[in-house]
């Protein structure tokens, strides 16, 4: 686990050490509706037993999605997240992370 986190952190530092994220919120909104909306609800507010995923920092969401994409399990619904995260590109993860940071359900 520590090795894994270390590897992720290193990768994130290497790729994103340039400062602000290159993610695009509008692109993240579109991607969110394709893959995430059905479970996590509108604007990442959470629904039923699926947790809220909005309002987190870009770094937090990015690290979680990268970890899921690699097959890392965090809890009982991990298989669903691993499956959904597998096809995400680095760029899509960045878009999603930026979108979810400020997404609000009115």
């Amino acid at each position: 686990m520590p090795k894994f986190i270390g590897a992720i952190s290193l990768a994130v530092m290497c790729v994103y050490s340039g400062g602000a994220s290159a993610g695009d919120a509008a692109a993240g909104d579109k991607r969110y509706h394709e893959s995430c909306h059905a479970c996590h609800g509108p604007a990442g507010k959470g629904a039923s037993s699926y947790p809220k995923v909005s309002g987190n920092t870009v770094e937090y969401t990015r690290e979680k999605l990268i970890a899921y994409r690699s097959g890392q399990k965090f809890g009982p619904n991990s298989p669903l997240m691993i499956m959904m995260a597998k096809p995400l590109s680095d760029e899509e993860i960045e878009h999603l992370a930026v979108y979810l940071k400020d997404a609000k359900y009115e």
Partner: protein, 435 residues
Amino acid sequence: MKYSICGSRAVSAVAALIMAGSVASAQGMDIPVIEATPVLEGLESPWDMSIRSDGTMFFTEKCKGLSMRSSDGTVTNIYGMSGSEGYAGTGSDLFCEGQAGMMGVAADRNFDQNRRLYVASTSNKYHGEGCKTNHERCDGNIVMRLTLTEDMSSVADRTDIVTDIQYKPFESNQPFGGPGAHNGGRVRIGPGGYLWVAGGDRHRGLCPQSPELLCGKVLRVDTDGNAHPDNDPPAGFDKRIYTYGHRNVQGIDFRPSDGKAFTAEHGPWHSDEITALVNGGNAGWDPQENTAGRGACPDQYCGYEPEQMEGMDPAVRASYMPMSDTRFEDLMPPTWNNNGWSQGTSSAAFLKGENWGIYEGRLATGVLGIGFGGTPIGQRIDMVSITPDGLGINGITRMPLDFSKRFRGLVMAPDNALYVATDEGEIYRVTATSN
């Protein structure tokens, strides 16, 4: 916000046919105008409703509790879960976890005289010596009979009439494997004023076929919780059991034409089902390990096997772990199985009233939407035309709403409107106007 859903394509098509004079029988076809209007928004996982003739609506929120919306729109918080704030009273034993919490609500048929509601919830009051592991009895799902005060703002009396429906206390190695899985939880008043309680298997392999455990069963009891005298389960079974062998029943209603009970339940990566219930019948779900050709399974539960964490052809999985196992002689075959897919059927309600036109008598069935292993997500409400014998369908029309949500709770109101709760936090009133 109001959604206008006119079924315009269908209307246009019929109009064109009539104009062309090519289909004389299309004349007089009664396709209703369907409209959905939110009556409450910003709720927290609303789960079920019960509507009175004056428009008063009782509703549950899974982790908050029971509330009432008066016909003028005022909301009164009546009875909360432990820790809920702003309620007239709370149940210190009531809790929510994962899929579990406060779920179904139904009003007594003599509610106007006795002000009684029946509410399903999870509770830690009856755990007893159980609940130390996932592989033992753990009584944690209950049905309460709540008598409201005269002004209906609070609970005057709470009597727990069913206290021994099992609950899953710990995480296990399954998809959706958290505690609180598969409680069923819908309650409805059926013919004769009896209470029907829909249950789930709580991720325990032996539950659905067990003669004494109430998990994975549909109960038919009186309003004190006693067995209906005509229940006819197999010898040795708890007499409160009407049907057994269920996985997770979140929908139950009674066909207006004959009173026959139908359930809707989630499938396990395959085969959501609607089933016509037969007194004492077996829905055919048996996720025990070392059974029916299967070997050992993760945490003694084969419900998602084989290769439970991987997507595969639903038909292949169904052949290994069938939703309705034909090895049972008392099997109630499914009316419908969602073409072999699991997309998460939840609540169901028969559409009553001539205002529903050609859809009158169809079973409106809410689908939550689960897109696993290549299955389309499929959030929708289906209007299912069921054959008279209940063993098949004539056809399905998707309700023409112009939005898709996680449709959790469906119930008809006395004015023949359909009320719909979504996991996103809304309750809609869906009306149909006959042409």
